[in-house]
Symmetry: C3
Subunit: 165 residues, 3 copies
């Protein structure tokens, strides 16, 4: 492997994907929803610490030894709620990331693509508030369904454009 | 940022990734298994509603107030089974998506790539049926192992082609 | 669809992404951490079998019928620990994969990119050992935070380079 061989022409080409406006829009919204998903870890940590509800014995060691620490090895309703929200993000944002990437490479109209990305990001941010506050149903259910429908719409475009079985 | 600057030459180049036959095959099978994974959400919702087994108090509000609704805040064996299947998909389909993308960009033979993608997709679809019906073991275990081996085989190709530590 | 139409010029271009040194480094470290995440499945299987702690009735059928098999349908502290580590990988390695891909396409300096990828991979491998041994806190917490910070740093670069709302 010759690390000094910079084939500048090819490198320039490959990095220009980010100059495509649809791809830039995808990169923006994908980064936003992935960072939003990552924030769930901080919310979980916040609730674990304020509710003193931990999953691992080594996490409670600073509260003392033996039984005095063991009582913090417990589940807490708020912690479990955030964790369900986090898992729901994994189940929905990960397919958006994957299918959205393929969709962005299929050359959709910029305005159509932006519509998909914006609605998805908005729906998932609303979903998080609906889950954590919590808002009465069907707020959370509807925001979930909107994000789901957007992803399925992009999958349909990918399969009709790229189908190669 | 000048949105009106359409550098059409570069845009054309970037979107042509989807004209590569290996990449089209990858996009097709990746979209199929991601959509299959998303369907697990619908199966979970179906079992939660028919078994009346929910995780959030706000989800049971339509069944009445107080204790009459609280009894639906429970776990159900069928719901938990679907959720385990969904998590298993996340644990296996997500690595396939990621490693498969890198693999498709490594320029493998079309026929070898198709073999990998088809076996993986078939194994994971079978795995879902084996989990949900459920079929006696080792049906589920073997279908899991086949998908796992396909992904490791693609990872080996990626690392031997692209290695740059 | 004319499968025999090989537009070699375009195919050559698309597959050359892997010739970009930053992208090769990304592919290498992304494959390493995804394979590391997949290994958690094997560790879970190992503990389930050695601890005889299973989640599905069909998995215990080989231990006999009725109550003699039912007692193996249980949770085990070691199995649950590995599963928490696996879920933590999903929550952190998946955002790294997604944001790292966008980052690699943003054309960062090779040395900066390598620094991000190496620190992330090292932090997550250390995190796994810290979780499974387990090491006393804050070993696990710090290694989690390092990987998290690296991913946020890449997300910042992606958003400042590609922002298109």
């Amino acid at each position: 492997m010759d690390r000094s061989s910079v084939r500048s022409g090819e490198m320039a080409k490959s990095t220009q994907l980010i100059d495509n406006e649809v791809f830039r829009a995808y990169a923006t919204y994908a980064a936003i929803v992935l960072v939003k998903m990552m924030l769930m870890s901080l919310v979980t940590a916040y609730f674990r610490i304020t509710r003193k509800a931990f999953a691992n014995p080594e996490d409670t060691a600073s509260f003392g030894k033996g039984d005095s620490a063991k009582k913090f090895l417990r589940t807490d309703a708020d912690v479990e709620r955030v964790r369900r929200g986090h898992l729901n993000d994994l189940e929905n944002i990960v397919p958006f990331f994957g299918i959205g990437l393929l969709y962005a490479l299929c050359g959709p109209d910029l305005s159509t693509a932006l519509l998909h990305f914006r609605i998805f990001a908005g729906a998932r941010i609303f979903h998080t508030f609906a889950y954590l506050i919590p808002l009465p149903q069907p707020s959370r259910g509807l925001s979930w369904a909107v994000g789901y429908a957007v992803t399925i719409s992009m999958a349909y475009k990918v399969l009709s454009k790229a189908l190669y079985l």
